[in-house]
């Protein structure tokens, strides 16, 4: 949103990332040809339905996936110009929780139920910063205060289960912010929360961005959340980026048929009811093969011959708007005439 600083230099760059799971039932092509970058002070929203590859993409960035079954088959992940995929284990450990903070989809993967929140926060701080216990404790309390938890010194002594869902999420944000990361990756951080608590957290993030200017990747399946906080948005479908645009462009002029259908399928809390919801027929794709056609083709109202023959690449249309759809491809603006001929014979 406009209140935030203008994006500055690129801090993270992802080029042609491909991640596969090799399971007993065959391969799962979870991430295919994913490219994007993140600038300091920028909030990049990542939307897509469940199984579209959002989490796997972000976990790949920090090599957090168990291998096997996961394998990053190709790609380049540059953090401040250094390739994460070529880093040593020590370098990776320093990066995780240091320069790159992570909020996981499942809160219990980052909070250990048997230790107090204070212990976990101070340990994280001491692992990455050269400070003593007392300083770490003080810093932990100020972090809790920063994320809006009252009586922070007191609450450091509590265990995770003594916090409500919303407060636990704040603790997670505090942990992720502990070492003042340059990049924060937040995976569905408010999905499990109620709307009034979500509103509190989103307000907190708006404030933190203003004060701290870190780059944030915010994963969600809620287009409403993205509309309220993102600068740019990536839409994922079937393990690929199908649309990438500024938040204004995405909502004012969605180009990909999937994005359009998704927006049309959502009723609005502020608008008069429509007679019938626009529904998207069919199911999301299974990812058992490398995509050889448009993954959305079986559900797309506009699909034509080419869509089932070739996977559309992500191409730039106008004003930095990128779309992976043959309809947007200059060569295919109108279905080529030979194809018509072929069909009519």
């Amino acid at each position: 949103m406009s209140e935030t600083r203008p994006p500055q230099s690129t801090v993270l760059e992802v080029n042609d990332l491909n991640t596969i799971f090799r399971t007993r039932d065959g391969e799962v092509h979870a991430v295919n040809h994913v490219d994007f970058s993140l600038a300091t002070g920028e909030l990049l929203g990542v939307v897509g339905e469940s199984g579209s590859g959002k989490s796997v993409t972000m976990m790949s960035l920090l090599k957090l996936l168990p291998s096997p079954p996961a394998e990053i088959v190709s790609g380049e992940i540059l953090f401040e110009g250094r390739d994460v995929l070529k880093m040593s284990d020590d370098e990776l450990r320093a990066l995780r929780g240091g320069d790159i903070g992570f909020i996981f989809q499942d809160p219990m993967t980052s909070l250990n139920p048997v230790f107090t929140v204070g212990y976990q926060l101070t340990e994280a701080l001491r692992e990455h910063l050269d400070i003593n216990k007392k300083e770490a404790r003080k810093r932990a309390a100020s972090l809790l205060a920063k994320v809006g938890i009252a009586q922070p010194e007191q609450r450091l002594k509590d265990f995770p289960h003594q916090f409500s869902g919303g407060m636990r999420q704040r603790v997670m944000i505090a942990m992720a912010l502990a070492c003042e990361p340059k990049v924060l990756i937040a995976d569905e951080p408010t999905t499990a929360l109620d709307v009034t608590i979500q509103a509190q957290i989103l307000e907190l993030v708006r404030d933190l961005r203003r004060d701290q200017g870190m780059g944030i990747i915010w994963i969600t399946h809620d287009l409403g959340v993205v509309a309220g906080i993102a600068d740019r948005v990536i839409v994922m479908y079937g393990g690929q980026i199908v649309e990438h645009a500024t938040v204004e462009a995405l909502f004012k002029d969605p180009r990909h048929p999937y994005t359009r259908a998704l927006l049309a399928a959502m009723p609005s809390v502020d608008a008069e009811r429509t007679e019938k919801l626009h529904s998207i027929a069919g199911q999301p794709p299974s990812l058992n093969k490398r995509p050889a056609s448009c993954s959305f083709a079986p559900r797309c109202e506009h699909a034509f011959g080419r869509c089932t023959e070739e996977n559309p690449p992500l191409i730039e249309t106008s004003g930095g708007h990128q779309v992976a759809c043959w309809l947007e491809h200059p060569q295919y603006m109108e279905p080529p005439s030979e194809m018509h001929l072929r069909e009519s014979f």
Binding site: D194, L202, A227, A265, M266, K276, Q283
Partner: protein
């Protein structure tokens, strides 16, 4: 809603005892639902909204007599069903059904789709095998699935399809009233619309009445005729759709609606949000006076002392707040 009400709920309370220690001594109670009253007209959809843990599901279950309510009265089609037991209860069960949030959890993985849908028929009817099979195929067709799927197992289907199976099963006995408990919460946006459209079509065809429980205020605006808002076990406001969304009166309804993110960056940038402080108190230890008084932006001294009464206002609206005139 007067004479045409198919369901009347009057002062319904459901308290769960809290036990502690080795002797399992009762040390208190959770007021999951506290003095809730409303009517639902025949063919109507009443939306029930509120945050997690506020008592929506418990209300639905108590109405279906899956619990024995602590207090209050439930009337279905003019008949008091509050204290029904045994065969009498079994009989009215055919008129009331429930659709659950997690379609996975309520479908036995070892049973075929056909036998899952036929189960209520086995239990409540004396149909012959062939008639049952016909009915199952009819039901699968009604929910937009291929009748030949009857021999498949639940795991072979997607979330949206499993929810259709759950709906087919709920429809088996031709109920008049269905509690839909977060029927789309576990589904992706692209699948939600399919299920909501199906529920609406079935309602028209079979003259069904719904209690539609949800925390998705946008979807409730689409599907419900009237909406009841719940907070910490109590109803705070109930009004027809248009009135509730365009002119909310209760401070909690206002905050709740203002917190729903809109997929429109221009609107999001200028929207006035009411950010509530703090968390919902525990239903085991609700505040004195108004349940919302610990977070209400306009609470006064009286609010902490006196529980606001559930009052009928103009235009079929009900509100429980001292400050609403």
């Amino acid at each position: 809603m007067g004479a045409e009400a198919i369901l009347r709920v009057d002062g319904l309370s459901m308290y769960f005892p809290v036990y502690r220690g080795v002797l399992r001594k009762k040390v208190g109670e959770i007021k999951a639902v506290d003095e809730v009253s409303f009517d639902i007209a025949k063919g109507e959809t009443l939306g029930l909204v509120g945050e997690s843990g506020c008592g929506k599901s418990t209300t639905g279950r108590a109405i279906l007599k899956l619990y024995d309510p602590t207090a209050g009265r439930i009337e279905l089609q003019g008949k008091d069903i509050t204290d029904l037991e045994g065969d009498a209860l079994r009989e009215i069960r055919t008129d009331m059904q429930m659709i659950f949030q997690d379609p996975q959890a309520c479908l036995n993985p070892r049973m075929t789709v056909g036998s899952i849908i036929a189960e209520p028929l086995d239990e409540h009817t004396r149909l012959k095998k062939r008639q049952k099979r016909e009915r199952v195929r009819e039901l699968l067709n009604a929910v937009g699935m291929n009748p030949d799927f009857e021999n498949r197992y639940p795991h072979e289907f997607s979330g949206g399809q499993r929810q259709r199976i759950g709906i087919a099963r709920a429809l088996a006995l031709e109920p008049k009233f269905i509690v839909c408990d977060e029927p789309i919460a576990a589904l992706d946006v692209s699948i939600q619309a399919q299920v909501v459209n199906l529920l609406e079509d079935l309602q028209k065809e079979h003259d069904l009445t719904y209690l539609f429980i949800s925390h998705d205020l946008s979807m409730v605006r689409h599907i419900a005729d009237r909406i009841a808002v719940m907070y910490l076990g109590r109803l705070v406001e109930l009004a027809p759709r248009q009135q509730l969304y365009t002119m909310p009166r209760h401070p909690y309804t206002k905050a709740l609606l203002s917190a729903v993110p809109e997929p429109d960056p221009a609107r999001e940038a200028v929207r006035e949000r009411i950010i509530l402080k703090g968390d919902v108190p525990s239903p085991a230890n609700p505040p004195s006076g108004c349940n919302f008084s610990t977070r209400c932006p306009i609470a006064e001294e009286k609010c902490r002392r006196e529980t606001p009464a559930w009052r009928e206002m103009d235009g079929g609206r009900f509100v429980a707040c001292h400050m609403v005139q």
